[in-house]
Symmetry: C2
Subunit: 269 residues, 2 copies
Amino acid sequence: MAINIEVRGKIIAGGKLPLICAPLTGKNQALVLDELTGVLGKGPDLVEWRVDFFEHITNVQEVMQTAVSIRQTAGDIPVLFTIRSAKEGGQPIALSEKQVVDLYAAVCRSKSIDLIDFELSNPREQIHNLRKITSENAVKLILSYHNFEFTPGPESISLKFREAERLGADIAKAAVMPKKLEDVLTLLSLTLEARDQLQIPVISIAMGEYGSLTRMFGWVFGSVVTFAVAENSSAPGQVPIEDLKTVLAVTQKGLGQSACYSSKQSHGN
Amino acid sequence: MAINIEVRGKIIAGGKLPLICAPLTGKNQALVLDELTGVLGKGPDLVEWRVDFFEHITNVQEVMQTAVSIRQTAGDIPVLFTIRSAKEGGQPIALSEKQVVDLYAAVCRSKSIDLIDFELSNPREQIHNLRKITSENAVKLILSYHNFEFTPGPESISLKFREAERLGADIAKAAVMPKKLEDVLTLLSLTLEARDQLQIPVISIAMGEYGSLTRMFGWVFGSVVTFAVAENSSAPGQVPIEDLKTVLAVTQKGLGQSACYSSKQSHGN
């Protein structure tokens, strides 16, 4: 069973419901901050700044300033900092691999973010390096795997989760594309298995239309964070945050849990 | 792939969403009719009269009169007539097996109901007999299997579906009790298989708290009817009809289907 992970007083995993994470995809500082204000009005539990959407990503100074401003605006909502590579579904960017790692390192040291998402497909040395830096700066590390083409066999996805754990991740994440409904069930089944067998929590997502089901009820099977649209979508199949909250409330009631879901809820109590 | 079954202009299976069936559990004619009025206000697609809750079930005349009154009040909402046996989760009744079959036969001939639910565990001869009578009176036959204790292996449930088909059912139904979340996934998986392999539609239900998920999402995997609470619940895990409709609308949107769900919707168009 996964241990609890706490970020700014919020328990990731171990709570009764998943944390709802809203992406920020603005292309410059003004747009991101404007987007953040709108996003916060919808009551997410986390925000993910998808920095690969930021057009001045090569300007370290501007990225750092924006991170500080996001931190100040977000209040007690944890901020996840993600540079999604183009080969795993992100926007094309003009940074080298080394520059990406350096930017992650700099933002970790700035103390303006709470978690980072780094891809498992990166060289081991970079992962070890960022694990060290995140630990030194009390930043949580999500090691992630994305497949926008299809859903690999259950063994293959389970292997990614175990690899993330072995490499020291605080949270393991896998997002895959179902080609048929059976793939959705496969993902849910191995999420359940990971919940029972791993020492860290997992985030599991089936993307696209079929996959939208996992964004709504994957938490029942052990996925601890669900990404939803507050202002803008960052991946296919994301459900509007209001709709997601409605479904979570009904599902929770059906499951016989007494606590009622609202944006004001303190998770994990 | 299952063929479409039409009852009073409603397509059971083949539609974009499941039909919502609300149970009637009143213990006498006045209570059932009162309950029906409340139920109709919630906009179900079908109503199931659970006759095993009717305290004067031994009074054939009163049952028949009540069926006629239900028919008149229900308008164009199809009526499913069910005497659930105590051994499959129903109320204890003072009728012999033969009297149960005779009552089913009489109500079929009265033309006041549209479907009956009869259990697969009944003697073959009774099933053949009722199949003949339902066909002669244009009544649809659901052959059902219930397990309130646990979820049998997938092979075992698939066998029940195939048996129902072989015995001439218009619809096969299985309701089981999950002991763990994996059982819910098993049920959804074999529902998908039945949808692809059988010539008749199926209704699949996992009961209880875990199972409430299947009442909300099972339709995506091929279950054509979902039972929901309008006035009274008839089995564990049933969700209030308003909540169910909300979840169906959000789920349908996530699945990229354009039609929006409402009680006014004509299914199957």
